[in-house]
């Protein structure tokens, strides 16, 4: 009923986008190495990865925070998008692989030419993926179809709450086990890797990496705007009404299953696109990406950042992964304990996540000043937290 962004929000979005999409890549490209302001190639690829995760987190949040559907299988769609694009990348390796063959290395290794002699070893369903447009379309429709079938069955049978969560987890686990099998023709436990080219460019040069980073940033921005727009429509109202009181919506004449299916498919597509950009940046996609724990991690990002807001999941995905990058180098063994501990702390003490901190601090200070009935020194974190209020308020 109102405009999607107000003026301040628009300014912040434009500013952040400028820094992320223009300034950082320029600092990487034009500032010489060794300079204070230089952003390393390693960092650019790492940030690109975070941005893809943030896209995934936005999808989880649109389902969990806005529709009340806690899906524990979103990484399946992320991986499917990744595989769809990865297949194209595999076929673009050409004769540059270890075996100097026309088909990807793992197919030679697994003796596919004997199995599929008519196509020279390439399984028939791989053939259309030589076409870049087909592959890009597959990044969208493969996750969409899987989500549509699963969603249709689940929502028609009125599977809700924890049952839906468990089923979605079973779905991704089942897919994971299937992809682990060599005869499923997607590279088994090694997955797809050793890419050489993307769109005709060498995949390992700094400029390609930079453009992949920019593309991830654009995708994140686009997804963010889409989510905000969706929330501003009547659809967004219905979506949140389903979260808060599905029966009332149903008895008001809305076919809630259709709404849930639409959101579920949309989120699968969003996740798939994120996965498609993730794969060329990290250089590998394998079945462990769709293991249940990966999807759980995505849920933790949302919770840490603040579910039910759109800035929260982005902040959560980036900060938790930044911490993970650091922690897995500094104390790899303990990382999972840190992640689990963080989740528990957030659930217990920060129900609104990072974006809820300013509000919590304000409440605490109000309570404090009531008790003291005098001047109080602002808490140390208050200043830093203040700057986040701007981000948080964009979601109100």
């Amino acid at each position: 009923m109102n405009k999607v962004f107000n003026k301040t929000e628009l300014l912040i979005v434009v500013l952040v986008s400028f820094v992320g999409l223009v300034l950082l890549p320029c600092l990487n490209a034009f500032v010489p190495e060794g300079h204070v302001l230089h952003v390393s190639n390693f960092a650019i690829t790492l940030y690109g990865k975070y941005l893809c995760y943030a896209v995934l987190a936005l999808g989880v949040n649109l389902l969990w925070g806005y529709t009340g559907l806690l899906s524990l299988g979103q990484c399946l769609f992320f991986s499917l998008g990744g595989y769809a694009f990865g297949m194209h990348l595999m076929l673009m390796i050409g004769k540059l692989g270890q075996y100097k063959a026309d088909i990807p290395d793992f197919m030679v290794f697994l003796e596919f030419p004997a199995k599929y002699p008519s196509t020279g070893g390439l399984p028939p369903h791989w053939i259309p993926f030589k076409n870049i447009l087909f592959s890009m379309a597959a990044v969208v429709w493969v996750p969409a179809i899987v989500a549509a079938i699963f969603g249709f069955l689940a929502f028609r049978s009125r599977i809700k709450g924890v049952y839906f969560s468990i089923l979605s987890q079973a779905l991704t686990y089942g897919a994971c086990l299937m992809f682990f099998r060599n005869d499923f023709t997607f590279g088994g436990n090694n997955g797809l890797t050793d890419f050489k080219q993307v769109l005709g460019y060498d995949i390992n040069t700094p400029s390609t990496k930079r453009w992949l980073y920019v593309a991830s940033g654009m995708l994140l921005l686009g997804t963010y705007v889409l989510c905000r727009w969706l929330a501003s429509t009547k659809f967004g109202l219905v979506q949140r009404a389903i979260r808060d009181s599905e029966n009332r919506v149903l008895f008001s004449g809305y076919a809630t299953a259709n709404y849930k299916l639409f959101v579920f498919v949309l989120c699968a597509v969003i996740s798939g696109l994120g996965g498609a950009l993730y794969v060329p940046q990290v250089g590998i996609i394998n079945p462990s990406e769709m293991a249940p724990d990966k999807s759980l991690e995505a849920v933790v990002w949302c919770a840490v950042g603040g579910r039910g807001t759109f800035i929260g999941p982005i902040l959560g995905a980036i900060s938790v992964n930044a911490l993970k990058s650091y922690a897995t180098r500094a104390f790899a063994e303990q990382w999972l304990y840190v992640l689990g501990g963080m989740f528990i702390l957030v659930v217990l003490f920060m129900p609104k996540g990072l974006v809820g901190i300013p509000e919590q601090i304000r409440e605490l200070r109000a309570r404090w000043s009531r008790r003291q009935d005098g001047d109080t020194v602002p808490a140390a974190g208050a200043v830093e937290a203040k700057s986040m209020t701007a981000g948080a308020s964009t979601d109100k």
């Binding site: 429509t233 009547k234 659809f235 009404a241 808060d244 009332r248 008001s252 076919a255």
Partner: protein, 253 residues
Amino acid sequence: MNKSFILTLEGVNKTFEGFRAISDLNFYMDEGELRVIIGPNGAGKSTMLDLITGRTRPDKGRIEYGKDTDLTRLNEYEINRLGIGRKFQTPSVYTEHTVFENIWLSLEGGRGVFQALFSRITPAQRDRIREVLQTVGLEKKERDKAGSLSHGQKQWLEIGMLLAQNPRLLLVDEPAAGMTDEETAKTGELLTSLAGRHSVIVIEHDMVFVRQIARKVTILHQGSVLCEGTVDQVQNDERVIEVYLGRKKKADA
């Protein structure tokens, strides 16, 4: 029989895991009528509404709307779209939405996914929403979150949401629960003013309230109709007194 009822239940049975919630229920209602249904706990009042609105299906029996619409084959939202609106026993409004948005979502009109994505609110709809809010006395609360309303106001909001759908038949489950005497009286006025243009079924426990609004009362007992009539008639009915007060039959004494 040529006369057409707006709602017909005939020979309806419903059993939940051995418990007979509804047994051989026959119920007829005229267009434009305001009917009050009362009965002790477990008499099957809410189950009856569940059966009419498609929440549960009868094991046996006919439930028809108007001349020949079989409600037992339709689901909740299809039944609602036919013009049957329901207010739940506990007020169920969208607590995170504003009062205005609550009514907007209930306004009669398209319910499709794509309609919801691309349609914008029209001035006519705005006027209609304000009109409904005025009817239920919440025009000053338009921008407040529904969760911040008092219990009585939530009840009214939900009645408003029902009105916004402009249904032919309203099913209202305990509208006066948790209301002050003054609020209850106002609710009674509202409901009586609706009769005629709409057909209304009200389930209620509060006998003062029932006296205020009722013209015809149906008493449910153990899943079937015990008796029907005006408030005075049913209050003096031997069987009703027996059910409510647990008196032995005089003949036995």
